[in-house]
Homo-oligomer: 184 residues x 2
């Protein structure tokens, strides 16, 4: 009866268990996500759908979602980041952003928890940064090679393990730990 | 007991009734759409969700979805076009595409019909074209000011009423009329 984290990614599971300070089971579940730029809306619906797919269990069901909100693009691609990545990758994104002076972006992660009561809580982690001029570094995944967090000269991908200490995902998980500790 | 077309747009309803050759009722229904670049997948899920929201009626429920698939972007934004439009509009899209030589794009419309049996059929209309260098014309909506259909020098927005005769939406509706005529 442990809380379940919905992910196909073992290292995400370990990170979540460590930061939340609880044992977690993993569910490898394909849940359709709704179209929206808003991470909270997408993650809340995903948590509800995952809970339903698991048969409304008596333990909490946790999902996450993350992406990049680019200021010059009015926050796009936001919760739709993975589709832009699938289509054009980091190189394509940089080409699309080439003529913009303003490279500011937010790396955003949202963790949504569907409690056994059916209520859903959403926790957000945000890291300010900017989009690099070219992809740099071999570590990480997704947009890690093009995001330089504020106060750094390296991209997430160049920071390797150091990224995890205070990433947007770590911040969202810490927010969840604080918001949830009275419940579990 | 007429088929229902799910749209907030009266002129879409009229166009659909005219091309399908049947009387239609209109349902103004907000149905969450799933995240995917694939129009067929999005529209089929939307038709199912709309049918469910209407209480699984004994008449067909029709939805549509449309957007732009840009070749230089591997088909992006596809079924997610409206979110790119909401974020940056046509001017922003043109800026993102500014450094690309290849301006080819497909205007795609998908019409999905959920029958009273619960089965869903999907019909597709595609117009080849290219993305203009600047927005032109006052007619139409969405990406109409930046799409030049093949064989034209004008954008959809400059073509006004002429656009409707053979638009991606008209083509999808004609495909539906042919595919469905044995059923209604």
């Amino acid at each position: 009866m442990k809380p379940v984290f919905v992910t196909s990614n073992e290292s995400k599971l370990r990170e979540a268990a460590q930061i939340l300070g609880v044992d977690l089971d993993r569910a490898d579940l394909e849940v359709p996500e709704i179209q929206s730029l808003d991470f909270g809306e997408v993650a809340a619906a995903k948590a509800r759908a995952a809970r339903e797919a698991l048969g409304a269990p008596s333990y909490p069901v946790i999902v996450d979602d993350s992406g990049l909100a680019i200021r010059a693009w009015g926050g796009f691609p936001g919760a739709l980041t993975k589709w832009l990545m699938k289509s054009v990758g980091n190189a394509g994104l940089l080409k699309m952003l080439a003529t913009e002076e303003d490279r500011s972006a937010l790396a955003i992660c949202v963790v949504a928890v569907a409690e056994s009561s059916g209520s859903v809580q959403v926790f957000r982690g945000v890291v300010r940064g900017e989009v690099s001029r070219e992809p740099r570094g071999d570590g990480g995944f997704g947009f890690d090679p093009i995001l330089i967090p504020k106060g750094e000269t390296r991209t997430y991908a160049e920071m390797g393990e150091e990224k995890s200490a205070d990433s947007h995902r770590a911040r969202a998980l810490r927010a969840a730990r604080h918001g949830l500790e009275k419940i579990w």
